[in-house]
């Protein structure tokens, strides 16, 4: 497949979100690709609330089979979750399990008024009833199981999409 | 029964024989070595091809747990172990319950053992009543009842004046005193050799000085009183120097080492293996090497098993709470052979340490040798066959040995006591 241009997708995603966010909307990026993406969106959308990040390592549902991730990053939620409008940001939406874990973790901080999900790419292959509120590109056909799409950042801060064969 | 043991390699350290001689037995005694006596006709023939024919082993310390500790082991089970180990005579320490300080008790023990008709039993009487270190026991009566020597087992006499007098009294008769050198104050609370390993494992240490200082006291008192001493279970290199010096000063002193001390040191405690909890403790590698060498050149006279069966519950506890002791009757021969191989010592010299030399120490004239007229106590073994030590193959009720899972050389094929086959494999 032809790997899509990340910068273009980011611009598309920002425009899709613009009518539906306010200055008080809180962005929470999921490590690691989602965090970089959230930083960009935060700047593009001119949001005032500080950026949050989530490491879902402690909420994953495969802990008993795969164990702990060797380098958990920890989560930072520097705003009050109670009654907030939160947008979870991730680079790729796949099975939906990461989103579920992020929601669980978020709700341990408090009760938001509303939660949306913003992703660059929806690659299909859902295993849970989860959907993106904002999505820049939905793949016409699901990616084969052995392949992964992943957001990467180079030294200058430029973001690109990469196709990885596991 | 007339028995002819043929084709074996006869090794008799007492008579300095290592040759392919046949052995002839009648009425429980040896009647011919090399050639049959006139008119001898065998009712049973034992083919000892490829095997060593040696005197039955003499173990200077074997706890049979009777009287008093029958839940740990019984005379029957431990006699089975002795037979399987080729041990035909054993000396019993006095720390039974009740203590062997009463002639009646000693007689009963001897009677029980005789009835079982297996290994010969040589009780070592308590030096003081109850082993309490206060009052002398009736040594003359106890010898008459069957005791071969006197000892305090692992409970040293605190009062040096009592010890001195006990030695003087025994010296009157020429009785031997077997002592385990322990200074109770320095030793208090210690469960492992006080050194690097115990420090790292956080185990209370039992310093070498506890043995050395007590040993010096005993040897000095023996010099003064003329007592005949036997030092049991030497564990420190420095102790050997003290004993040599005492011998030069004219003290009549012999000593033995426990078989496990020849092969193990404190490092073998590993991750708190309670099978390595023994008294005296496993010392360090330098001590082990010194003991092994001293046994080879004769400064140490004999090896014993220090057989102490301990039930599983008492062993499977945190190290310092576990009961000390190791089972050993069936390992005496293999551990002796393994030690001999390390020093490339001829079999005849190695076997002396568990036959003729042990007999001398215990004052056993009728055993430990294969002279014509001697008791037909015989151990026939395969020196080249290796055995893996497992709980299942041990006949002793005590399965507590640090050698579990290891392969050791030597396999007893046949044990005879007074001319009767007691064990065959």
């Amino acid at each position: 497949m032809q790997v899509p241009e990340a910068e273009q997708l980011i611009a598309t995603l920002a425009e899709a979100m613009r009518p539906r966010v306010t200055a008080d909307t809180c962005l929470v990026g999921i490590h690691t690709g989602g965090v970089w993406l959230a930083e960009r969106l935060h700047a593009l959308l001119g949001l005032s609330q500080p950026l949050g990040s989530i490491d879902v390592s402690f909420y994953r549902d495969d802990y008993s089979t795969k164990g702990l991730h060797p380098q958990p990053q920890g989560s930072k939620i520097p705003f009050d979750v109670e009654d907030a409008h939160i947008v979870i940001v991730d680079d790729v939406l796949y099975t939906g399990r990461t989103t579920r874990a992020a929601l669980n973790e978020l709700f341990d901080y408090g009760r938001p008024a509303r939660v949306d999900l913003a992703v660059l790419i929806d690659r299909g292959g859902r295993e849970l009833p989860v959907g993106a509120s904002f999505c820049a590109l939905t793949l016409p056909a699901p990616l084969p199981a052995g392949q992964n799409l992943q957001l990467e950042r180079d030294a200058s801060g430029a973001l690109t999409m990469r196709l990885i064969h596991a | 029964m007339n028995i002819h043991i043929q084709n074996g390699r006869l090794i008799d350290p007492a008579n300095k024989i290592d040759a392919p001689h046949d052995l002839f037995i009648a009425d429980g005694k040896i009647v011919g070595v090399g050639s049959a006596p006139a008119g001898f006709s065998a009712a049973k023939t034992i083919d000892a091809s490829g095997l060593v024919v040696a005197p039955g082993l003499i173990d200077l310390a074997a706890r049979l747990r009777e009287p008093g500790f029958e839940y740990k082991a019984t005379l029957e089970s431990e006699m089975d172990a002795a037979m399987a180990g080729g041990v035909t005579s054993l000396a019993i320490p006095p720390d039974t319950d009740p203590v062997l300080d009463e002639p009646g008790l000693v007689e009963m023990l001897c009677y029980r053992a005789k009835k079982l008709n297996r290994a010969h039993v040589y009780p070592v009487g308590a030096l003081t009543i109850g082993l309490k270190g206060e009052q002398l026991s009736e040594m003359a009566e106890l010898v008459e009842a069957g005791c071969v020597a006197f000892s305090q087992a692992n409970t040293p006499i605190l009062d040096t004046r009592v010890l001195s007098r006990a030695m003087l009294y025994a010296a009157t008769f020429g009785f031997r005193i077997w002592l385990q050198p322990i200074d109770p104050y320095l030793a208090r609370g210690g469960v492992a050799h006080d050194g690097e390993v115990a420090s790292r494992l956080g185990l209370p240490g039992l310093p070498a000085s506890a043995e050395i200082i007590a040993l010096y006291t005993y040897l000095r008192l023996a010099r003064q009183t003329g007592a005949r001493l036997h030092i049991t279970r030497v564990s420190c290199a420095e102790s050997l120097d003290l004993i040599e010096q005492a011998r030069k000063d004219g003290v009549d002193v012999s000593c033995d080492v426990a078989a496990h001390h020849l092969h193990l040191c404190d490092m073998d405690i590993g991750y708190f293996n309670p099978h390595c909890h023994v008294i005296p403790p496993l010392r360090n590698q330098r001590d082990r090497i010194a003991l092994s060498k001293a046994l080879a050149d004769g400064r140490i006279n004999a090896i014993c098993s220090d057989h102490t069966p301990v039930d599983d519950d008492a062993k499977q506890a945190p190290f310092s709470e576990s009961e000390p002791g190791t089972t050993g009757l069936e390992l005496l021969l293999p551990l002796t052979l393994k030690w001999a191989a390390e020093h490339k010592l001829p079999l005849i010299d190695a076997l002396a340490r568990v036959t003729s030399e042990a007999a001398k120490i215990a004052g056993i004239a009728k055993g430990g040798h294969l002279s014509v007229g001697a008791r037909a106590d015989i151990c026939i073994f395969d020196p080249d066959c290796h055995q893996q030590i497992t709980r299942g193959m041990l006949k002793s009720q005590g399965k507590n040995t640090p050698f579990l899972g290891l392969e050791l050389p030597g396999r007893v094929r046949c044990t005879l006591v007074e001319g009767t086959v007691m064990y065959e494999a």
């Binding site: 490491d55 390592s57 402690f58 909420y59 802990y63 008993s64 795969k66 164990g67 702990l68 060797p70 380098q71 958990p72 990053q73 920890g74 989560s75 930072k76 939620i77 669980n104 341990d108 901080y109 408090g110 | 006080d194 050194g195 690097e196 115990a198 420090s199 790292r200 494992l201 956080g202 185990l203 209370p204 240490g205 310093p207 590993g270 991750y271 708190f272 309670p274 519950d313 499977q316 506890a317 945190p318 190290f319 310092s320 709470e321």
Partner: protein, 319 residues
């Protein structure tokens, strides 16, 4: 001999001692603890990692402090916690240690946190679990005799890393009763494994283990010699029992010679940190002014202790 703390894949199966624990695993525990410190800041201080698992606190030696921190750590991981204060005397009367363990396994324990007065007790339990095929049950040593207190050693390392960042350029002094201290043994093992170039022990020779230098430390008889230019001062608790048995004449003399006062602390580097495993004997091993002073990091140690224990338990519970 395989390290009984690691399973066939080299992963942590039990935490029994820091002595012989690979450096990579110690570092992994410290790295895993870092994100756990944030959990305490949240409203819902819970993570679901050990949900449905039963953690049995098997304390043969009384300790409300340590038991409580383990309980908090386990509960923050959503585990069910059962506390068993087994007085040693009742065990001696009846059940053996292993019988007690077997009974608790029958109650579906997933993890044992064990404190015992005899060195080697947790090892015995771990060995027994392996012998009886119970690979899914893990043992955490909460202190055994004089031997080890691995979670204390780990939280002390976490504390040092938090304030000093690196280990390879530090001088650390441990002061007090090293002979009887499981905390000291764990600290020494961790410091040497993590590459601290100089570890000193300071105290009277009666409170020093035999051959202590073989553990990789340098002995200093006085504070003047031992505290010079150190980066970290780790104080040990002095127990009253040490006054009996001819080990020490009096707490007053101990304090005079080895007590940490501001004056003695001035010998260390100006940014040196002061640590203590607690509970402190003010006026015996440490002056109140120092204990409450700005170089003391004793309270943060407690906080870090919960995160470190959470890290250990979640690493164990993950297979």
């Amino acid at each position: 001999m395989r390290n009984p703390q690691l399973n066939k894949h080299g992963e942590l199966q039990h935490l029994l001692t820091l002595d012989g624990l690979p450096r990579a695993i110690i570092t992994q525990i410290l790295d895993t603890a870092a994100p756990f410190t944030e959990v305490a800041e949240r409203e819902v201080k819970k993570l679901p990692l050990l949900r449905g698992k039963s953690v049995f606190n098997l304390f043969f030696e009384n300790s409300t402090r340590t038991r409580t921190t383990f309980e908090i750590a386990a509960k923050r991981l959503s585990a069910d916690v059962i506390n068993l204060n087994v007085a040693t005397s009742s065990t001696k009367k009846g059940e053996t240690l292993l019988d007690t363990v077997d009974n608790l396994c029958a109650m579906h324990a997933d993890m044992f946190v064990v404190r015992h007065e005899s060195s080697g007790a947790p090892h015995l339990i771990a060995q027994h679990l392996e012998n009886t095929g119970r690979d899914h049950i893990h043992v955490v040593n909460a202190g055994d005799g004089r031997h080890a207190h691995p979670t204390q050693g780990l939280l002390d390392m976490y504390t040092i890393r938090h304030y000093k960042k690196e280990f390879h350029n530090l001088t650390v002094a441990i002061v007090g009763d090293v002979l009887h201290s499981r905390v000291a043994r764990s600290q020494i093992a961790a410091l040497t494994t993590l590459g601290v170039p100089e570890v000193r022990v300071i105290g009277p020779r009666t409170l020093l283990p035999t051959d202590v230098e073989k553990m990789g430390v340098r002995y200093c008889a006085t504070m003047e010699e031992g505290l010079k230019d150190v980066d970290v001062v780790m104080m040990l608790r002095l127990q009253n029992e040490r006054m009996n048995g001819a080990l020490l004449p009096s707490p007053q003399e101990f304090f005079k010679v080895w007590g940490l006062t501001a004056e003695k602390l001035a010998l260390a580097k100006p940014d040196a940190i002061v640590m203590h495993p607690g509970p402190m004997n003010r006026g015996v091993e440490i002056d109140s002014a120092v204990a409450d002073g700005n170089q003391a990091v004793i309270l943060p140690q407690v906080t870090f202790g919960i995160a470190v224990r959470m890290a250990v338990m979640s690493m164990l519970g993950s297979h």
